[in-house]
């Protein structure tokens, strides 16, 4: 029997079905969500301006190799670790293009990192050298996003505040580049501190 065409037809059917049922159908079912509310009430929060630039830096640097952005509820210890109060759902991601779900957790989940840090300084110090705050962390240093320069006249307001053993020489200061500023702005913008009907936060559930 000449099986040539038979193979093509069979494969075509399999691939078409697989596309229809595992990609197209879920997409048609819940892939056209819109945000709820507008401006400052908008859910999910919009990533705009500097933070949007920072998202590009995040992608470029491959932070995704170690960090996820998805809080699970059914399994794992995400909520116990304080990474979020509720499960992440499809609506949380509608603005993300490309989406930064991640599939490796050498570091923490960053869905709500903006709730854990309030000040840019701490994050700048973390990116400049993660070993300053946590000596055994294996997060890479992103010191190349910072510039060491001579202090001319007055020291810059943006200069990093570093412990003595990490501080630059006298007369020098370390300032973030625009990429570092953007990355920090992006981190600070990451917060899913709103409730969606499809995933109420656990606190609310407890109260009921």
């Amino acid at each position: 029997m000449n099986r040539g065409p038979f193979i093509f037809i069979g494969l075509f059917i399999i691939l078409a079905l697989s596309w229809a049922y595992t990609l197209d159908r879920p997409q048609a079912e819940s892939g056209k969500l819109s945000p709820i509310g507008s401006s400052s009430e908008r859910m999910p929060r919009e990533t705009v301006g500097l933070a949007a630039k920072g998202k590009e830096v995040y992608q470029e640097m491959g932070c995704i190799a170690c960090h996820t952005q998805q809080v699970r509820f059914e399994s794992g210890s995400d909520i116990a670790r304080g990474w979020g109060e509720r499960q992440s759902v499809a609506r949380d991601y509608i603005d993300q293009n490309p989406v930064l779900l991640g599939h490796n957790r050498i570091g923490s989940d960053l869905t709500n990192v903006g709730l854990r840090y309030e000040e840019a300084d701490v994050l700048h110090q973390l990116f400049y050298n993660p070993r300053i705050s946590s000596s055994k962390s294996n997060m890479p240093s992103y010191s190349f996003l910072y510039e060491e320069r001579k202090i001319i006249g007055q020291a810059s307001d943006n200069a990093l505040v570093l412990p003595d053993e990490y501080a630059p020489e006298e007369g020098m200061e370390i300032v973030p580049t625009s990429k570092a500023n953007a990355l920090v702005a992006y981190m600070l913008s990451l917060k899913a501190d709103y409730d969606l009907v499809e995933a109420p936060s656990l606190k609310k559930v407890d109260l009921k």
Binding site: I7, L23, P26, A65, S75, Q96, S137
Partner: protein
Amino acid sequence: MNLISNICSTLCPQLEDGEEARQTERAIDASLRFPTLGLIKGAAVWLVIALAFGIVSFIKLVSPDFMGDSATFTYGKVVPAFWNALVYGFAFNGGLACATWTIGRLTGKATGLNITLVIGIIAWNFSVLFGLGGIFWGDQTPFSLLEFPPYAAYMLLASFALIGFWALKTFNKRIFRSTFAAQWHLVAAVFAFIWILSVAIIMLYCAPVQGVFQGLVAAWYSSNLLGLVLFPMTFAALYYFIPKVFGTPIVGYRYSGIAFWTWMLFTAFSGPAALVNGPVPFWVSSIGVLATFGLLMPTTTLSIQFLSSLLGNFSNIWKTIAGRFLLIGALSFTLYSLLSIYASWRMTNEVIQFSLFDSGLMILGLLGFVGMTLIGGMYYILPRIVNKSLPSNIIDLQFWAQSFGLILMVGSLLYGGYQQGALLNGSSDSSLVTILTVSQSFLFVTILGAVFYLFGAVAFMVSYIWVTLSSRSETEKSAELVKASSDLEYSAS
């Protein structure tokens, strides 16, 4: 009916005189020499490059300040560079080397040097280079096994289309109309790759789907890239080379059809399993998990076919060069497939999700199953297309270095990844840094294993250079070196 037609076509080649058959084979080999050698060379070079990236990335996990000042070689770039160089560089070149040669041989007549094929191969390798450059330049995408920037993805598709066009055209010119298992798998791989890459490009870049569904498309793509493209190419190599190397048919060959169709069917639906508990509709990831369980069926059939064919010839395996690589490849397949089914079981998945266990599985699949099998295939092809014998000392060294390295890497990542995952997902008692110290103790073993495997890869390159550059001995000048191979791919059906 099938059987009868197969028997008919079986009779034709056997009517031919052995000498004449050998003449045809030599003509086919000659017409494929240039592209196949190019692909083998590509596989060897990319394997070394990929492993170098792999080792750098593993070292960075243990000692993050290693090359720490380099923005180009930061961990987040080296990791995707490693996997992509391994897949599109090594595995595709190796797979296509075996594929073009097998398709050519099974077509049964020389088709002449084909310029489309050559251009396709060169373009493919340039696309991989561009893709890697793009990652280091800062254009990577967050989709696993498709981290190459979009422009490189378009280039890959275009160059593969050229190669695929040649493959299908040549397949169509075959002189025996009935087909063999190796051909089904190769044709399927070519067709599936063009399909899945087009879908990924359309749904991720041209008309990107919303948010989390991009993650779904990416999971679908990467699972199918392995299951519908690289693995079928490797199955084809096992189906074709085992009978060739040992002169015995594949045990239970008549179950190949059912194994082929069930494998394709279940694999095509298993992708979403990667997103279990994630923010996608629950039923989609459940389909993925169910389909993964379905893979138990073809896995059993394929494993029995390959392993019993190989073990039936156990005493001869060590006398051949290709045979032992095929054995490690087939063993890795069985282990890989069983472990991935085990890993998608709910209880296990809860432990290992997001841990290094996944990397261990991928290494087993790519360096073990795909890597070792294809290297075996390439070692079967090499002496035939250049009419020289292989440097068996170097290859001995390569074989042991790679096998040992593989065991160290896979063992440490699977065991260590499981420990890591248990601490990570089980409770919130241990901090991330505590978990790191646990993982780092086994990562040393991973690095050691990767160094061994790299050593083997360098030996692979050396033996390739040796074979192509050394001057010919007297026997190598004559046509006697390679004997006509048995027509087993015909009689086995």
